[in-house]
């Protein structure tokens, strides 16, 4: 475990992807939950709860893609062709839901269409991200600096399960976000949905965790070999702790606790994947060091990232602070 530039960058890219998952996760989740809230007033409030921040959340996805090309170009150049169809599907989903934030307010007649675009696009994007995750965990064959598998390799029972898992998980984030940001009947229904999603998420995490070690020998050794097996005990215990806080937060009608606990679940699941992956960037073909760009590229971008990422986090936090508290149904510039 050398603390060199590729390792630092792997940690930074991992952070960017995690930031994306937890931030865009809840606003995608709000879109996924749209069909369960048929009232126009509820939908207006739901959309306004994420409208000021969704664009910043999605920027982490651009950083993940652009950053990967910059610092691990070989990983970017092999993962993207390998996951061609899910990536295109994700992009199309994101187009529909992204424009829906603006278009929905611009028309009475076609409003129902943009409601569907928002819900369908969010769900498609989430499912495609889950497919991509599953396909990456399964492993991507590479020969001679290029993807060497088939065009349908990404579609397996395992990747479909991870796809569904991400949709349910994002729905949990969305529901707990709504508990935090809304009032009255809307928040009540968000609570009951969050409860169902919580059990769904835990079930999905369990299935994926039990399945993963049997996909790759490396994962098996990591989770059942000494000393790394320590994690196999610690991570599930922490997951159960988060679940307890989540259920208790819903039951005691707390505002922020369910959301924070749901974020905790995602962070733990993500750490679990990270433990499985290390030292691979693209299992089982490329390590972090195989995929890394030359040090001149890594150093040049690292200087900026170390200065800019804290600043970005600061003004992003400020933007969230400006829009803190419950959504006022009367607000919005539309």
């Amino acid at each position: 475990m050398a603390l060199d530039l590729p390792f630092i960058w792997a940690a930074l890219i991992a952070f960017a992807v995690l930031a994306y998952v937890v931030l865009d996760g809840f606003d995608l989740g709000v879109g996924i939950l749209f069909p369960l809230f048929p009232e126009k007033h509820d939908r207006d409030v739901m959309m306004n709860s994420v409208a000021p921040v969704w664009d910043g959340n999605e920027t982490w996805l651009v950083l993940g893609g652009g950053g990967l090309m910059a610092v691990f170009p070989l990983a970017y150049a092999t993962i993207m062709p390998a996951l061609y169809a899910p990536i295109i599907a994700m992009l199309i989903g994101l187009i529909f839901r992204g424009v829906a934030f603006e278009y929905r307010w611009r028309t009475k007649r076609a409003e129902y269409l943009w409601n569907w675009a928002f819900a369908g696009g969010s769900t498609l994007a989430a499912f495609a991200q889950g497919l991509a995750l599953g396909a990456l965990v399964q492993g991507i064959p590479i020969e001679d600096r290029a993807y060497a598998g088939g065009w349908w390799d990404w579609l397996t029972p395992f990747s479909i399960v991870t796809g569904v898992a991400i949709v349910v998980g994002y729905a949990l984030l969305g529901a707990t976000w709504l508990i935090m940001k809304t009032r009255g009947d809307l928040a009540e229904r968000a609570r009951s949905i969050a409860l169902k999603c919580a059990f769904g998420t835990i079930a999905a995490m369990g299935i994926v965790s039990l399945w993963t070690p049997f996909l790759e020998r490396v994962y098996l050794q990591r989770w059942f070999g000494w000393p790394t097996a320590i994690f196999s005990v610690i991570v599930p215990l922490l997951v159960l702790g988060c679940l307890y806080l989540l259920l208790k937060g819903i039951q005691e009608r707390r505002d922020a606790q369910p959301f924070l606990a749901a974020l905790g679940l995602f962070v733990l699941g993500y750490i679990g994947i990270g433990i499985s992956f290390y030292p691979y960037m693209v299992p089982p073909s490329l390590t972090i060091w195989d995929a890394a760009a030359p040090n001149e590229s890594l150093a040049f971008l690292l200087v900026g990232a170390l200065v800019l990422v804290p600043i970005i986090l600061a003004y992003t936090a400020y933007a969230y602070w400006v829009f803190r508290g419950k959504v006022d149904p009367e607000e919005g510039y539309h």
Binding site: A51, P52, V53, D55, G56, E58, T59, L61, L63, G65, G66, L68, M69, A70, V71, P73, L74, Y76, A77, I79, M80, P81, Y84, A85, I88, L91, I92, L94, I95, G98, V99, E102, Y103, R106, T107, K108, R109, A146, Y147, W151, A293, E296, S297, F300, L301, A305, L308, V309, I312, Y315, T316, A319, V322, F323, D328, E330, E331, G332, Y333, H334
Partner: protein, 471 residues
Amino acid sequence: MFEAFDATLLARIQFAFTVSFHIIFPAFSIGLASYLAVLEALWLWKKDAVYLELFNFWKTIFAVAFGMGVVSGIVMSYQFGTNWSVFSDKAGPIIGPLMGYEVLTAFFLEAGFLGIMLFGLNRVGPRLHFLATVMVAIGTLISATWILSANSWMQTPAGFATNEAGQFIPVDWWAIIFNPSFPYRLVHMVLAAYLTTALVVGACGAWHLLHNTAPRRARTMFSMAMWMAAIVAPIQIFAGDQHGLNTLEHQPAKVMAMEGHYHSHPDGAPLVLFGIPNSAEKRIDYAIEVPKLGSLILKHDLDAPLAGLDTIPDELHPPVAVVFWSFRVMVGMGLAMLGIGLWSLWCRYRGTLDGDIWLHRAAVLMGPAGFVAVLAGWITTEVGRQPYTVYGHLLTANSIAPIEAPAIGASLVAFIVVYFLVFGAGTFYILRLMARLPRDTMPELDEGPLRTAGVTPGPATAKPHGGHHGS
């Protein structure tokens, strides 16, 4: 389906299609973000409600255009990997960090402050709100800087070496960022964005003047837009000429294609005004040309020799017809913009700026001219770069991902359907917003900015806006 097609051709069509759609939105939002910052500054300074009304009017249009720019931009950031993976592997160490800096310095800034700009006036007060507007405007300009640096490096690569894996290795970042064509391209594109926005704002103002709706607001925006066109159009023509001379120095084949010079002219080259490029016969059919003028423009000397495409192997020629025509479209649009700028100055001098119906009609007609010019200009420079992705070092044919044609064809069809549907709807909504009256804002703010010391705590207490959604 698609088996008959060549994967490289399909990938090129997909890139051209998605990037053409994408560039339309930044070209508009770069200029519009600066215009919004100016409007809000004028409101804070002069306390005149007309500026706040115009700000709110254009802010909504900006939000729609910006949203379209964001979603079409995400497609671009992943397309390099899906369709051009070999290019990404080889050029990623140089192009990647430039785009990474674009995200870190521009995209987050724009996105972080956009929410406050759109929704936050009542929550943060006018001054912080103005700061947010300025941040969004600065973000758009920073974004243009990085992405044009990356594109310019592909056109005029500098400051690099290569390694045994065939990757471009950065040697001197200063030389990479400030590569030979970057300053020219940046100035040319930012001016283009400002002109594009000025023409749209001018067309909108002219339309409302013709229909006599909201005369004061219409007059104000029309006058501002015409000042912009009158000042920037001549500067842009000069900047474009300088950019052309820089291209002649670094990418002579591109200029030969732009000028239609299949053959060398040892004693003074003509300027071909129009004609039909015939690459099979290596000549311009039906050419209308001015003798010696080509050498005068490019070499500032009537009799200077000018090399033609005959000095370059056939397989390295860019597609002449496309470059030749797109260049003429761009120049034609530029001259038309200069014309309307001068016309507006003449009317201003005569005192008929608000009353000249023909000027207003011409301004409405010129509304899309900026977009046409931007697209034609990008087609000129990008098609003129062929057959290379990294000029002189990496062929387009060797940049493509190992993806089979049917997959690229299927995704191309999907993008075409989605883009026309989604961005067609967006364009319709923007046009409808423009046709609407610039709406009255909250009456309590019409007296000028409220004096608040920064953040107003707690939830907003604003009354809901008057006005209604859509139709």
